[in-house]
Each structure stands twice: as structure tokens, then as C-alpha cells.
């Protein structure tokens, strides 16, 4: 399996930077860099600017007459709410309301939508769309055709401006631009909670764009997937496969804001509408009150008892708050809610955490 991992077009640059690699969604991607480490890389994004290679993310183009209408009949969010030039967070559910994937849809126009699914789910999302597509609508999996560079942090706009790239467009919108020989899409999106951009670059020009980002007088830190995970957890952003999955619906994961409830049709609509009335469990944040660090799959207990009332879906040490934080599914029947305390079984010891509503750190995406 290991020898079949795919590699980013920037792999050699990561090697040169002394990256430590990890398999992620079938790709071998940088986890952290020599001279950096998750804490320094996390801090760079919160305080200055960091660049992530997230080329493992999927890419797929949907074109043809009625392409946008077709996507709107499949995915949960309402594409009718946004204009061309805007992007939208949306979900691909199955008929039971389980989440096949969460993705970003870039609306170029009524006949052209660009999708960024998760690495591990791209093939399945494309397969489902292709199977449902009407005559004339084409879905092309372009996974390896583009690199994606996430430029995130308070100095991200200053950095891109130095390269002559557009920076003033609104959050969740995109513009097409040129940098050297590369034609790229500059999206005001990200997964860190900071002001930032995601650059979608043809793979052949990825190195040129990477080098340009590191070639200004602004000190830029390369950041890996380890920092990406701590940054997103501080924001309470779900990770598919942990906080959202075929077993964890958007209703449970509090992602109902990404569902166009008024739409007459989308995959999983019937099941999700039914579940919305009375969800069995809900995703909350947990903030540790002691030194314990919550980890995925730890059991959440009613204080002072052995009664299991939930499960941690993502947990880490928050580099910003210097304490353990988690996302956890808590059963509705427990009656426990925001402000209540719960206990975690941390390898046989009890750790006390408080139920909170994420984010754990104030976002500054706009």
C-alpha cells in the first residue's frame, strides 16, 4: 500500500525543506518541516503567514448545459444563494443522510462548476455524480492536474499583493489571475480560521508558484498537515472521516447551515429532514479543565458515573489556548448541553472538560 501513495508535484521541494511525511487520503504529504514543527507552523499561520501544499485535495470539473442546476439537485447547499465567482461549502450525502464527503463548489457559471472534494473521497464523489448526470453534463476527475497551495494568515494578502495577485475579493469568492507562466485561481477560502487564500495551480506550474511565494522579503513558513489539523480543530471545522462521515450526518455535526433545506431536491433530503426534528446526538466542543488531552474515540462520561453519553471525534492540544480541546458527539438524551461538565476516560484516568460551542479561537477569515 505504502508504495502506491501519490505524491504532490511539490514533493521535491518538501524533501529539500526536510519535511516529515505522512500518508493522508492515499497521498504522501508533508506532516511538518525541519526547523519548524507543528507549534511553530501553527503560530506562523495565526501571527504571520504560512503556506500549505494541499495538492492531495481532489479537483473535478462539471460542465455542460444545466451543470450548476444538476449539482444543486445533488449536493446539500443551495447554489442558488451564490453568484458566479463565489464558492460554497457543501455536502455530498447518500440517501440515508450519511456524508459521502464535504467539499467546496466554485460556481463559474450555470454551465461550469469546479469541485474540491477530499482526497480520499474524490473518486466516489465523481462516480456518484457521473452516474446521476443528465445527457450533456460531464464530470471530469482532474485530481492530479492541479496543485492547491493554501496561503493562510494575517500577512497572506500582503504576500500575494507583492506577487501582483488579486487580494481584495470577498471571503468565499475567487478570481482568475496570472503569475509568471501560470494561470491560477485565487480563492478566498481556507481551513485555518485566518484570513487566507487557496491557489489552484496547474501541476506543471506548481513549483514556479511555490518558489514565488517563498521568494519575497516576507518571511513565509511552510506548514504541514499537523498544523493544518490543530488550526482547523481550534476553529471547530469538521474533518470528514472523523467529525462528519457516513455515520455522522450534517444534522448531528451541526452542519445544517450547509444544507439548503428549502430546496425541493438533494441527495439525502428525506432522511435529513426527518432527522432534523429530533437528532439523537449533536457535535459540541469540549474544553479541558485540566492537563488531559482528549483524543478521537475517547468515551465521554456523565460526571461521577460510568454512563457513556458520547464520543470524542477529534481531539488535540490547542497551541493557541495551551489546553486540550475536542469535538465530541453528545447524546441528546443525556440532557447535557453548553456549559455543563463531562468527564473523559483518558487511558483509565478521569479528565474533566466543559461543553462549549466552537470555535475555540476567534476566527478572522474576513
Amino acid at each position: 500500500m505504502t508504495d502506491e501513495l501519490l505524491r504532490s508535484p511539490l514533493h521535491d521541494r518538501h524533501l529539500a525543506l526536510g519535511a516529515k511525511f505522512a500518508p493522508f487520503g492515499g497521498w504522501e504529504m508533508p506532516l511538518e518541516y525541519a526547523g519548524g514543527g507543528v507549534l511553530k507552523e501553527h503560530a506562523a499561520v495565526r501571527e504571520s503567514v504560512g503556506v500549505f501544499d494541499v495538492s492531495h485535495l481532489g479537483k473535478a470539473t462539471v460542465t455542460g448545459p444545466g451543470a450548476a442546476d444538476f449539482i444543486n439537485r445533488c449536493l446539500t447547499n443551495d447554489l442558488g444563494r451564490i453568484a458566479p465567482g463565489k464558492a460554497q461549502y457543501t455536502l455530498c450525502c447518500d440517501e440515508t443522510g450519511g456524508v459521502v464527503d464535504d467539499l467546496i463548489a466554485y460556481l463559474h457559471g450555470p454551465e461550469h462548476v469546479f469541485l474540491i472534494p477530499n482526497a480520499a473521497n474524490t473518486t466516489e464523489v465523481v462516480r456518484r455524480l457521473q452516474a446521476a448526470a443528465p445527457e450533456g453534463v460531464t464530470i471530469v476527475n482532474e485530481h492530479a492536474d492541479y496543485a492547491v497551495l493554501a496561503v493562510q494568515g494575517p500577512r497572506s494578502a500582503e504576500l500575494l499583493a507583492k506577487l501582483g495577485l488579486p487580494t481584495d475579493h470577498d471571503y468565499m469568492s475567487f478570481e482568475v489571475a496570472k503569475l509568471g507562466s501560470a494561470e491560477l485561481t485565487v480563492c478566498r477560502t481556507g481551513y485555518t480560521g485566518e484570513h487566507g487564500y487557496e491557489l489552484v495551480v496547474p501541476s506543471a506550474q506548481a513549483g514556479e508558484v511555490w518558489d514565488a511565494l517563498f521568494g519575497t522579503d516576507i518571511e513565509v513558513r511552510a506548514a504541514g498537515l499537523a498544523a493544518r489539523d490543530t488550526l482547523r480543530t481550534e476553529m471547530g471545522y469538521p474533518l470528514h472521516g472523523q467529525d462528519l462521515s457516513m455515520e455522522i450526518s450534517p444534522v448531528q455535526a451541526r452542519a445544517g447551515w450547509a444544507v439548503g433545506w428549502k430546496k425541493p431536491e438533494f441527495w439525502g433530503r428525506e432522511a435529513l429532514v426527518a432527522e432534523k426534528a429530533a437528532p439523537q446526538r449533536t457535535l459540541w466542543g469540549l474544553l479541558a479543565t485540566d492537563r488531559g488531552i482528549p483524543r478521537a474515540h475517547m468515551t465521554v462520561l456523565r460526571p461521577g458515573t460510568d454512563e457513556a453519553i458520547g464520543e470524542v471525534t477529534s481531539g488535540t492540544f490547542s497551541p493557541t489556548k495551551k489546553i486540550g480541546i475536542a469535538l465530541a458527539l453528545i447524546s441528546t438524551a443525556s440532557g447535557l448541553t453548553e456549559g455543563d461538565e463531562v468527564e473523559l476516560d483518558v487511558r483509565g484516568r478521569r479528565s474533566v472538560a466543559k461543553i462549549v460551542k466552537p470555535p475555540f479561537v476567534n476566527p478572522s477569515v474576513r
Binding site: T230, F317, P319, R347
Partner: protein
């Protein structure tokens, strides 16, 4: 990054180092190889002085942002000291694993146990194979 393995120390297959401290107790830490594999360490849980530990059994844990790793006692005995500086600065393990990043000191039940640990050459061989 330097991967030099100090000649004067003894080692375990679980990537701990051991040195004879003043008074005959054994000072224990984790190796450069281990700290590099773990990444930034953010929390350390160590047994208090007076705790009994058993060779090969858990004697605390170190946590990075992503994962937790157990520390295994290299020898059986009694904990005589733990590095209290790590409570505030667990990053000392990353920055100085063989020095200020030490973990605990153990009074061995059997003074001969130290001599049975891996020497630097044997440990070097072990990490080359891993």
C-alpha cells in the same frame, strides 16, 4: 539534524536513554530519535518520587499534539526524582533530549540491571534497522 548517539549512555529498544546520575540512581530520558519521531511535545505525565516502577512496564507518558506515547521503565526500582521543569516546558525534551529534557531518576532494585541495557553501538544498529 544530528543523530549522534552519545557513547557514554545506555539505551532500551523503546528509545529511552539511561545514565548513572550522582548517588547511583539512573537518570532516564528519551533519545533524539524518539523526540524527532514524536514531534513537538506538549504534555508529560511522570510518576512521583517514591513510585515503584517495573522494567518494561509503563512509567508515564509524553504527548504531542497528535498522539500519546508511553514511557517504559528501563529497569525495576523506585523513582527518586522527576524533572519538574517539564511541567511548564515540555519542549525541553525536543530541544535537549539528553540534557535538560531528562524525565525521571530511578534507584534500581538490581544494580546490575544497568549493565544489561543496550550500549550505544547496539542502539545505533537498532535504529538503523527501524
Amino acid at each position: 539534524m544530528s543523530s549522534a548517539i552519545p557513547e557514554e549512555l545506555r539505551y532500551t529498544a523503546e528509545h529511552e536513554w539511561v545514565r548513572v546520575a550522582e548517588g547511583g540512581a539512573l537518570r532516564v530520558g528519551i533519545t533524539q530519535f524518539a523526540q524527532d519521531a514524536l514531534g513537538d511535545i506538549v504534555y508529560v505525565d511522570l510518576p512521583e518520587a517514591g513510585s515503584a516502577v517495573e522494567a518494561g512496564a509503563s512509567a508515564g507518558e509524553v504527548e504531542s499534539t497528535k498522539s500519546v506515547s508511553e514511557i517504559y521503565a528501563p529497569v525495576s526500582g523506585t523513582v527518586t526524582a522527576r524533572n519538574e521543569a517539564l511541567a511548564e516546558s515540555p519542549d525541553l525534551i525536543n530541544s535537549d533530549p539528553y540534557g535538560d529534557g531528562w524525565l525521571v531518576e530511578i534507584e534500581p532494585a538490581d544494580p546490575a540491571a544497568y549493565g544489561e541495557l543496550l550500549d550505544a553501538a547496539a542502539y545505533q544498529k537498532l535504529i538503523e534497522q527501524s
